[in-house]
Amino acid sequence: MRTARTRRTGIVALGCTVLTATALLSGCGSSSGGSSANGGGKITLTIDLFGTFGYKEAGLYAEYEKLHPNIVIKETDTENEADYWQALQTHLAADSGLGDIQGVEVGRIATVVRQEASDFTDLNTLGASSVTRNFLPWKIKVATTPSGAVLGLGTDIGPEAICYRSDLLKQAGLPTDRAALAQKWSTWTGYVGLGKQYQAHAPAHSAWTDSATGLFTAMTGQQAVRYYDQSGKPVYGSNPLVKSAWDTSVEAARAGITAKLTQWSPQWNQAFSTGAFATLPCPAWMTGYIKGQAGAAGKGRWDIAPGPGATGNWGGSYLAIPKTSPHQKQAYDLIAWLTAKDQQVTLFEKEGNFPSNTQAIGAVQNYTDPYFNNAPVGQIFGDSAKNMPVQVLGVHDGDVNTALTNALSEVEQKGVSPQQAWQNAMNNIANAVAQ
């Protein structure tokens, strides 16, 4: 009796141990970074990115490896940029775990240029001076230190437009024609006004736009000076343009024309296919995201028209090389190739990432996207890029933006008074940037 029971509990204990061990292993099974030259004389380049740069998806790594048989490219990707940035800071501080190539978002480039220039290679020393003139001048300028070191080559930029569901607009009795819509929402007031009209006749469970925060980010993306002025002084609290973007977003939230979603949350992702919102301000790279979330069923339902002000920049990135990389030359050759004209054209057509390379911008001018009802995306985003302001970027842009958009969500999702929410945002910023 007793022995039988012991054996049985023994088996159970063993089962539990195996389970726990498996859980532990799967939890700790992350790969180690770093690059190496393996036995066959091949060089492995590690490229550390966030979100969707689309290189792998567009087949560019495979193509490069074919062109350069001695190179193997290994990509690691973090979905959320904030997580990626935290990890990058930790790796920089520890001087280990860095890739041969690191992606940097435009909202962080000022921090890299002003505080971490000594950690990254001046690409001019690797031959970048011959290619920098191919990029939009502002794109390279914000990645250049006062002493002239270029710390990153531009990948994409984020010209803004409005993506909309023509089927939902039609159901609410609104025009679905791009030119007519662009004319009706030529200003943000017009966009919010049309939203109220939509809401009055909208299908059940459908809002005009996804969130007040998307609106706010799109609006502040049109301003040359938003959170910091040219001298680097913080002006987020006093800048009338920021305040007016805030007021318009609050108006939209309180008018009930937003779906009260949090961008990048699982619910937001689901809403792309459920029709919970009819329009959203979308930078070029978001078109790729929409295709991914709305899937094949969304083809032909979505369309794109020039947005209010027909310009603005939201996002866009850089590729940089940390000084710790043992393969500086090979890493540079790869980023120069990835950011060259042909590859940027491929990326725009396959993934929606709009080129920062001027020749590529010219080359995609006539491109139309079949997913978005053959919208002339090359022209719409190209025009938006042409009028784009040269934005002044501050060291804490990311923290300021997070605090302001969180506060807007408080107004939108919790009904906090706008005055209180604004005050909360100011407190949060003070807490974040406190020395």
Partner: protein, 333 residues
């Protein structure tokens, strides 16, 4: 196991007697090898327990930013003073206590009940015991992400089910109480089984004679549970309370991933479920204020020490009381 462990017990006597005859090397061996045997623990503890503790205390006295960790500016107790004046710190402290209470108290009570049930002879007992352990073996991240879906405002299963019985949909993310209850649910789900098994082990070590004599004295089932089971479980209960208190104070993974990672360390739009652990992470890894984060870590450590001391203090007081009561009872008799 038992076979290899038993023989020495019988040979202890003869070995001791022969100790005077062993060579010098043997004496050295006897004298120092125990230290070698315990060294692994102490070396690891020094490297991964003691050193970080002291280094964190050192860092907490400086202003250090992750963007430039080489540059340290002496701040004295400035980081600690800053904490006391930061409303977000007090908010995090409050949240830690409320979430801790909502998750720990029902959890331990349920665990006690479950253990009591499992202590009966029932069919498939082993199956139930293993099943209870399953949540504990699941990774926090995976479980939390699934719960985040269940608690979704628009498409979540829980709101759908509530809708069936006519309850208006609840915003499990933005509501202060709703979000704290949601997070506590994840904690409770994960740890109830673990605590139940510990209680079960404790219950099985209570001699059956005690129940028999209680029954002869005419004690009901409930009285038996109260006076025999709970009494016998006292040390086990104290252990689980202490471990749960420490766990609740350090709560981190569940709130971090509660909104699928979008709101991350800020603990919701209004910090409505930001715990001390998240507050520490927010200071250190969102804002890169390493000095302040270190100060938060030390404050958390002190809070845990105080809570544990309080716990054991209360437990000791109560058992003293009861011992006194018992003596009085005997004297009266």
């Amino acid at each position: 196991m038992t076979q290899t462990a038993t023989p020495p017990r019988f040979t202890v006597g003869p070995q001791r007697r022969g100790a005077g005859h062993v060579r010098r090397r043997g004496r050295w061996d006897v004298k120092y090898s125990p230290y070698a045997f315990v060294a692994p623990f102490f070396v690891l503890f020094a490297a991964f327990g003691l050193f970080p503790l002291i280094y964190t205390a050192y860092i907490s006295l400086y202003r250090v930013e992750l963007t430039d960790p080489g540059q340290r500016v002496w701040a004295g107790l400035g980081n600690y003073a800053g904490l006391l004046h930061d409303p977000f710190f007090w908010n995090a402290l409050r949240n830690t206590f409320t979430i801790g209470a909502i998750s720990t108290i029902p959890q331990l009570l349920m665990a006690l009940g479950l253990a009591h049930l499992l202590n009966y002879r029932l069919r498939g007992r082993t199956f139930f015991r293993v099943a209870m352990m399953m949540p504990y073996a699941t990774s926090v991240a995976a479980a939390t992400l699934v719960f985040a879906q269940l608690f979704g405002r628009d498409y979540g299963l829980i709101n759908w089910a509530l809708g069936l019985v006519g309850v208006h949909r609840i915003d499990w993310q933005n509501g202060t109480w709703a979000s704290q209850v949601g997070i506590s649910t994840i904690v409770t789900w994960r740890w109830t089984g673990y605590n139940a098994l510990i209680y079960l082990a404790g219950m099985q070590s209570i001699p059956a004679e005690l129940y028999e004599s209680a029954a002869i004295d005419g004690a009901s089932r409930w009285q038996q549970f109260r006076h025999v089971t709970i009494r016998g479980l006292r040390p086990t209960i104290i252990f689980t309370v202490i471990v749960s208190t420490i766990g609740a104070t350090q709560l981190f993974g569940e709130p971090l991933l509660y909104e699928g990672g979008t709101r991350g360390p800020s603990g919701g739009v209004s910090h409505q479920y930001q715990t001390l652990g998240l507050y520490l992470y927010d200071q250190g890894w969102s804002f890169f204020h390493l000095g302040r984060a270190a100060a938060v870590a030390w404050v958390m450590f002190l809070i845990i020490v105080v809570l544990v001391t309080l716990n054991t203090g209360i437990a000791r007081l109560r058992s003293c009381d009861e011992r006194a009561l018992g003596r009085k009872g005997r004297a009266l008799r």
